[in-house]
């Protein structure tokens, strides 16, 4: 009881702080850091659904991110489609691709799946790098429009982007929380444990694996559209690279893969750190931030693989409903149907 009251207090404080933030720190850099944090947090939450919950450890999340970004951008640039519709289109496109690649990969586990995800993401990147339709290596520039919510472009400060990014994150977290508590979430965890066990519990292994990948892809694609509308430029090197996928995994792992809030916590720690390191070390140390990332990943895997959430709560995963005070044997229904 005490922990849930504490959790509510913490949540309320955090919520208040997040809402107040853009009014207190009005400069572009702090807002930028927060926007990037929310974006990576969303990506990590997406990864967590397929990796932390269902055990499919992907190192190719950038592919879905990029497909989302490119789809909405292409539709806007070439056909004037509203980026919000483009977001949905990008999400669907991403989910479809996820299903197409996920189906043949549905028997792959552990290392084999990880490598397949890298192979897949690299194929996507190579393709976009050579695809004239979307600008190949030069990428796409999104022209400035008159601005405003419907156009998903804001020219007077970053605060609107901040709130939209925050909204995306909250929506993803809500979805993740709901999945964790639902039948789907329990099935994901069974799948993660073992193929045989899932089958013996009547779970269609393939169907639920696909569901996990598709949900993950959709959310990642949405984050991609957010990125495109925020930066107004994308090319394969900025949205489809392995380093984005790796950062997503690291963030989820640091925060606590398999828990609902872990990925967000991981982002809250890592992204501001990495943005600040980039600024203070300037561009002379290209590679220093990734060097630190690499060392961090190694250390975390060895010493605290369950991440911050695991450290705080001692366990990963949904909390079971509390045991009744006096466990009286309940009368069992007669027979089975």
């Amino acid at each position: 009881m005490r922990t849930s009251r504490l959790a509510l207090v913490v949540a309320a404080v955090v919520a208040a702080a997040l809402v107040a933030f853009p009014f207190v720190f009005t400069g572009p850099f702090p807002l930028h850091v927060m926007i990037v944090t929310f974006m990576f947090a969303t990506l990590a939450v997406a990864w967590n659904i397929m990796g932390g919950y269902a055990g499919m450890f992907s190192f190719g999340q950038a592919a879905f991110f990029g497909i989302g970004a490119y789809t909405s951008s292409y539709l806007f640039v070439t056909h004037g489609v509203s980026p919000w519709l483009g977001l949905v289109a990008g999400g669907l496109a991403s989910a479809l691709v996820a299903a197409a690649i996920g189906y043949p990969c549905s028997n792959l586990r552990g290392h084999y799946f990880a490598i397949a995800s890298i192979a897949f993401a690299e194929i996507v990147r190579t393709h976009f790098n050579n695809w004239k339709l979307v600008g190949a290596a030069e990428g796409l520039t999104i022209p400035m429009s008159k601005g405003g919510f419907l156009q998903f472009q804001f020219h007077h400060g970053k605060a609107p982007y901040y709130f939209i990014a925050l909204a995306f994150l909250l929506a993803s977290l809500a979805l993740s929380w709901w999945v964790a508590r639902s039948r789907m979430g329990y099935y994901f965890r069974a799948i993660k444990e073992s193929h045989e066990l899932a089958m013996v519990l009547g779970i269609s292994f393939v169907r639920y694996r696909l569901a996990a990948i598709m949900i993950s892809a959709f959310i990642s694609a949405a984050a991609g559209t957010l990125y495109a509308q925020y930066i107004l430029y994308l090319d394969p090197e900025s949205v489809l690279v392995l380093s984005i996928s790796v950062q997503v995994v690291l963030i989820a792992m640091l925060g606590g893969a398999g828990s609902v809030f872990g990925p967000a916590i991981g982002a809250a720690i890592l992204v501001p750190l990495s943005e600040l390191t980039r600024v203070s070390l300037g561009h002379k140390g290209t590679g220093v931030d990734m060097m630190i990332y690499g060392a961090l990943i190694t250390l975390i895997s060895v010493y605290q693989p369950r991440g911050v959430w695991g450290l705080l709560t001692g366990r990963i995963g949904p909390r079971a409903p509390p045991a009744p005070v006096a466990a009286r044997p309940v009368a069992v229904q007669e027979g089975s149907k």
């Binding site: 039948r183 329990y186 965890r189 045989e196 013996v200 519990l201 069992v332």
Partner: protein, 242 residues
């Protein structure tokens, strides 16, 4: 009750070079407890696999409630009402006993609340309710086996197939477990169990089937089977008498 619940007809399973099951046939009627015994490597677990959809028989048929289910995938078979446990116990390590059982209960329960209720009921029957908050990884082997049975029961099967669920139980734990299985049968679940613990086989079974080297060599009541000279030679040894 004219159609048997389960009919295994001439099931043969060959792996490269090895015939694990050779033309095995038997029936199981609703409400029975049937035991399958035999030396290690006799093909008992493979037989389970063939019936429950983990292996596709090389030949033969499996008929369940009058319907040919040969070759159906394991998750399908479970949904149709056949549950099984494994020789090497499998539970979800990172989840609590209750959550494990909920996962199984979700097969028939549509809502979270219904799954919780069903899970609690089953855990109560299996005497695991007091351990419902324990993590799967924190359980003893005996408790894990009970949890595995609980999970199988939570899928509301008509036919429950247990693969050596009593291995490793101490004498003290054995009798309650036997009573538990009788209780499960009273609740309308038919049982097929693979066992080495002869005491349980003798106490529980309506019928016993004996497998050796992939073939069925005997079938009958426990007393009949135990007196069968072939069975004695292949498996029980001269010393054993009921």
């Amino acid at each position: 009750m004219s159609t048997p619940l389960l009919e295994v007809r001439g099931v043969t399973k060959r792996f490269a070079g090895l015939t694990a099951n050779d033309d095995v046939s038997f029936t199981v009627n609703e409400g029975e407890i049937v035991s399958i015994i035999g030396p290690n490597g006799a093909g008992k677990s493979t037989l389970f696999g063939c019936v429950t959809g983990f292996h596709r028989p090389s030949a033969g048929h499996v008929i369940y409630r009058g319907r040919d289910i040969t070759g159906l995938k394991a998750d399908r078979v479970c949904r149709l009402g056949i549950a099984r446990t494994f020789q090497i116990v499998q539970v979800i390590a990172d989840m609590t006993v209750l959550e494990n059982t909920m996962t199984a209960a979700f097969l028939r329960a549509r809502t979270r609340a219904a799954a919780i209720q069903r899970a609690r009921e089953v855990l109560s029957v299996m005497h695991l309710l007091d351990k419902q908050a324990f993590l799967g990884s924190a359980l003893t082997i005996a408790d894990k086996k009970r949890l595995e049975v609980a999970m199988a029961l939570a899928t509301e099967p008509r036919l429950l197939m247990l693969d050596e669920s009593m291995a490793g139980l101490t004498r003290v734990e054995l009798q309650p477990f036997i009573a538990l299985l009788r209780d499960v049968r009273e609740r309308g679940v038919t049982l097929v169990i693979v066992e080495h613990v002869m005491e349980a086989v003798m106490q529980l079974s309506d019928r016993v089937i004996v497998l050796t080297s992939g073939r069925k060599i005997a079938e009958g009541t426990p007393r009949e089977v135990v007196a069968n000279p072939q069975v004695i030679q292949a498996y029980l040894g001269e010393r054993y008498r009921a």
